[in-house]
Subunit: 160 residues, 2 copies
């Protein structure tokens, strides 16, 4: 299987072209001070973010609702290809240690497209049930909204 192959039975795909550069998208994903500004779909916010950007390094986020509810965890980077490919999973934590409740692996693919970026997110699941659950949790709305926020931030029009 090619690294970026998508299995329609098990994977969810978000694919868009956005009017910011590949480097800006990469930085938004990998610099904590930037990630906290766009990662959680509003009205949630990203209360904390820990990035150890190397294969086996931890990737942790804490998202917070207006009511103070928190959601998050610590996953593990698997592939870090500067400027173009980032793979991480919640099935493992830092140092590749298994996490008790695996849910998905995310692959972020970033390519130049004219003056902008072809942006793809592939979310891979263990089975159809997990894929369906992720879809029903609002994968498409959530990741699209977050991407809109990323673009807003990069273009300097973010409210914060």
């Amino acid at each position: 299987m090619k690294p970026d192959a998508v299995d329609p039975d098990l994977d969810l795909l978000l694919e868009r072209t956005v009017p910011v550069s590949p480097r800006a998208v990469w930085d938004a994903w990998t610099i904590p001070e930037q990630l906290v500004r766009w990662f959680a779909p509003r009205p949630w916010t990203t209360a904390a973010c820990d990035i150890d950007l190397r294969p086996g390094g931890g990737f942790g986020t804490v998202m917070r609702s207006p009511e103070g509810e928190e959601s998050g965890g610590v996953g593990c980077y698997l592939v870090v290809e500067d400027g173009r490919r980032l793979v991480f999973t919640d099935a493992l934590g830092p140092g590749y240690r298994p996490n008790p409740s695996p849910f998905f692996t995310a692959e972020i693919l970033i390519e130049p497209d004219g003056d902008g970026t072809r942006y793809r997110v592939i979310a891979r699941h263990a089975d159809r049930e997990a894929k369906k659950k992720h879809e029903e949790m609002g994968f498409h709305d959530g990741w699209n909204a977050a991407l809109d926020q990323l673009v807003e931030m990069v273009r300097g029009t973010a409210a914060s």
Copy 2:
């Protein structure tokens, strides 16, 4: 945390010096025709083995008891450093897709030691319960017996 750090609460460690070369140990782990000759502690045998030796590639084995009971699964290579370090996990399958029932990540460390090899296996678990279960399943006896079989195979004294 250093890549080879061991957490005594969560990890199991096997450490031995064996009288075969680092290259021979690496080959025994990475060439299917060799792996099937030593991997399953006798009287179990290794009925099948699938090795896609790259980060994200699948690592599958099927072990069989004399009564025909089978045990195995397909994991994923995470780190492949030729001749010295191999990391794989059953928390993920090929292409980094999560597996439903993660149990452990294995790190195999191979270093020259005189004419032989300092050989370390670190098995990392999500929690103390998983570590204890692995210990009670016979981690130390099983991995020591398999290593004896590896050395026998390399030295050409294997029964098969």
